[in-house]
């Protein structure tokens, strides 16, 4: 009877699949001392456009560390990556699996992921370096670190720049638009605290789904609100699409659009092309044209070695990931020097990261510091403008207030 035979075959296949799930992953390097760093990132899903780019950059940093720097005092690093697809159950599963395989620290992606894991990180004493930096993820200070300006701090820095440069007596009108999540809404936390002090009037707060593709409603509301500036807290695809729709209704150029970190300028310029002319970016890294900075030279060397290319004129994510990786590696290195390989754990790594003060990361200024009360690393931004297909700094480094959650 055919259905019966099919059923038996399906049952056997299912049993085999379940058993293989319980077998340790074949990815593990067996018999060799390695320091395992977990990476939970969106390689698929609504924010995978940024996640895929960042993952490749982490891989390059780990490869350089192992092949050129000789690892951590001769001990190789191993990156255990898991695709979380913007789903919290997959974040949990990836974290548990990586921990089982011996991960002592993690690179994390979205603010929601960090929030979901926060109690677990506290309990298991595991430090993470995250690119998802809403106020709640990094405050109160605990086991989450970042080496870029936090989302809310980034907007606070932008408002400081507006205060310095706005010449009129009336408040400068700013519209905030972004993802309808902790990332997108972080700017409004900074706005509520510091807008008045910086002579800023928030005229619109518009949030959309990460999967949204049309922003005519948002740009129309920005126009109708009479905004001077529109700050976008979203990844690169929505930023490019907003520029497209702004151009469609004729406000591009009349309203100055600004985007914060976690949007890749390279991808934005590829998607939006000439529409990016005049776009502002609250950047916390040196720009690719600053080739006198050893960190930029190193990024170019890495890109040449692994991809046969160099930093594009609007590349920023590579530099961002380089900074994040190197600071985290420095923390691990210090922990290893202090306690040795056998006693290396999350608590030791946290102590190592906290001991980083005025760190000279290959010429990147201002220098970076961590501490038990300040997990930010990076406290300054610089306003950068897209000009002729390049990122051109238009301000000096601006200190960003540490925006704590309400």
């Amino acid at each position: 009877m055919r259905p019966r035979r099919q059923t038996i075959i399906l049952s056997v296949i299912t049993a085999i699949l379940i058993v293989t799930l319980l077998v340790p992953s074949a990815c593990q390097v067996k018999g060799e001392q390695t320091i395992k760093i977990g990476e939970l990132i969106d390689l698929t899903g609504p924010t995978s456009d940024a996640g895929q780019e960042m993952h490749q950059d982490y891989v390059d940093n780990i490869k350089w560390l192992n092949e050129v720097d000789g690892g951590f005092n001769g001990i190789k690093a191993e990156l255990l990556w898991f695709d979380t697809a913007y789903q919290i159950p997959r974040v949990l599963s990836g974290y548990k699996r990586a921990r089982e395989q011996g991960a002592v620290a993690f690179f994390l992606w979205a603010a929601g992921d960090v929030e979901a894991l926060k109690p677990t990180l506290e309990r298991e004493k595991v430090p993470i370096s995250t690119s998802g930096t809403s106020p709640n993820t990094i405050y109160p200070s605990g086991w989450a670190y970042t080496s870029q300006s936090a989302y809310a701090d980034n907007f606070a820095g932008f408002m400081s720049w507006l205060k310095q440069t706005w010449k009129e007596t009336r408040p400068v009108k700013v519209a905030i638009t972004g993802f309808d999540n902790a990332f997108g809404r972080s700017a409004s936390v900074a706005a509520r605290k510091y807008a008045k002090d910086n002579n800023v009037q928030i005229v619109a707060e518009l949030y959309f789904s990460p999967a949204a593709m049309d922003f005519t409603t948002e740009v129309t509301k920005i126009r109708d609100a009479g905004a001077d500036y529109a700050y976008i807290s979203a990844s690169q695809v929505p930023v490019a699409a907003i520029l497209r729709d702004a151009n469609k209704i004729g406000i591009l150029g009349k309203v100055k659009f600004v985007h914060g970190t976690s949007s890749s300028p390279l991808q934005i310029s590829r998607l939006a092309g000439a529409l990016t002319e005049g776009l502002l970016y609250c950047d916390d890294n040196p720009v690719p044209s600053e080739t006198n900075i050893p960190a930029i030279q190193r990024c170019n060397e890495m890109l040449m070695k692994y991809h046969g290319t160099k930093l594009a004129d609007t590349e920023d994510v590579y530099i961002q990931t380089f900074t994040r990786s190197q600071l985290f590696f420095e923390g691990i290195r210090r922990a290893l020097n202090k306690v040795g390989y056998d006693k290396l754990d999350g608590a030791a790594i946290k102590e190592g990261i906290d001991s980083i003060k005025d760190f000279d990361l290959m010429g990147i200024t201002p220098r970076m510091s961590f501490g038990p009360d300040d997990p930010r690393g990076r406290e300054h931004i610089r306003m950068v403008e897209y000009k002729g297909g390049k990122l051109v700094p238009i301000s000096d480094w601006i200190y960003c207030e540490f925006v704590k959650p309400e």
Partner: protein, 349 residues
């Protein structure tokens, strides 16, 4: 169908869920293995089991609503969120015990479900599905913007459950709570479905006009179905909140609602066993494609891992599509075929 040679002689035996000695033995052995599972499993496997069990509770509710009563709902994740946030607020803001907050979460969510179930009295099918999508967005909008109560888009911390001063913050300790609650909810769902309410729900699903003609109040039973479904969702939400220790709006997206429906369809709509199979199948498949993508990318390091992650998602979707093409009645139908084969062995018919 009973095993070959087994016959019932009393009405009570005929109506009971476990009917033979062998079934009792198998059930007891299964429960013993279930409760012994954490002692021979990894932390990851226990965590997966916890997530599966919580999803089973949520999907059981959806089974009663969509599978038994025929009311399609694509807003179920929002009701799970209501339960999670109610329990979070009750325990962290008002200091209520988790064991009191748990059933209250179900009741509160059930009352919210009654309100959003009102459109079902006027619309059905695709239109009702759209109304439930609207319910999802309304609930999540309230959660995102009612900052003073819910913490808005930053979520809120939730205290871990405790028993006699012992915190159930680890996967292993919380596993027993989740399993006991899941078993209770399965028994409740089973008894609802084979009782008066279940028969009424099925009548409404099969032909609501005929059901009304026969005296089944559509108003009463449709709303009751929504209440029960969202009660289950509320319980699942509360379990989830105390498992993670934090609630956040991004944990309850519209995609989760769609996946709950997907689990129901894969498992077999209208059956408890099918619901359980569907949840286990999709959750385990998701884990398997992740591991598969890592294994293959380790074997072919020259190709970027992103490619394998994307291929894994394609495989995931393909398995679901193939399943729906070749077994549209769900895993439960396959299970029935297997049982029939076993019970009739060695006879073909």
């Amino acid at each position: 169908m009973l095993p070959c040679g087994s016959f019932t002689q009393r009405y009570e035996t005929d109506m009971s869920i476990v009917r033979t000695k062998m079934q009792w033995i198998l059930l007891i052995v299964f429960l013993l293995l279930l409760f012994a599972f954490p002692w021979f499993s990894s932390n990851w496997a226990i965590s997966l089991a916890n997530v599966i069990a919580i999803s089973i509770v949520a999907t059981l509710g959806l089974n009663i609503l969509s599978g038994c009563t025929g009311q399609i709902s694509i807003g179920h994740a929002a009701f799970v969120a209501v339960g999670a946030y109610f329990s979070a607020v009750a325990t962290s803001t008002y200091g209520l015990s988790t064991w009191i907050a748990l059933p209250l979460s179900g009741l509160f969510t059930g009352i919210i479900g009654l309100f959003f179930g009102l459109p079902s009295l006027r619309i059905k099918g695709v239109y009702l599905a759209l109304a439930t999508i609207a319910a999802h967005f309304i609930i999540m909008f309230v959660i995102n913007n009612w900052r003073g109560v819910t913490g808005g888009s930053y979520g809120m911390q939730v205290p871990f459950a405790t028993i006699g001063g012992i915190s159930l913050s680890t996967d292993r300790s919380y596993y027993y709570v989740v399993m006991i609650v899941t078993i209770i909810m399965i028994v409740i769902a089973k008894n609802i479905m084979r009782g008066k309410f279940g028969r009424a729900f099925i009548a409404v699903r099969d032909n609501d006009l005929a059901a009304e003609t026969m005296g089944i109040s559509l108003f009463r039973y449709k709303l009751l179905s929504f209440f029960i479904a969202t009660f289950f969702a509320g319980i699942a939400g509360a379990l989830w909140a105390h498992y993670l220790g934090v609630v956040h709006p991004e944990q309850f997206t519209i995609w989760d609602s769609i996946w709950y429906l997907g689990m129901l369809i894969i498992g077999g709509m209208g059956s408890i066993t099918g619901t359980i199979f569907g949840v286990i199948f999709l959750k385990v498949l998701g884990e398997y494609v992740t591991i598969f993508s890592q294994m293959v990318s380790a074997a072919f390091p020259a190709i970027a891992e992103q490619s394998f992650a994307s291929i894994a998602q394609i495989v995931y979707g393909l398995v679901i599509i193939l399943f729906l093409i070749f077994e549209p009645r769900g895993l439960y139908h396959r299970w029935e075929i297997l049982k029939a084969y076993y019970r009739l062995f060695p006879f073909a018919h």
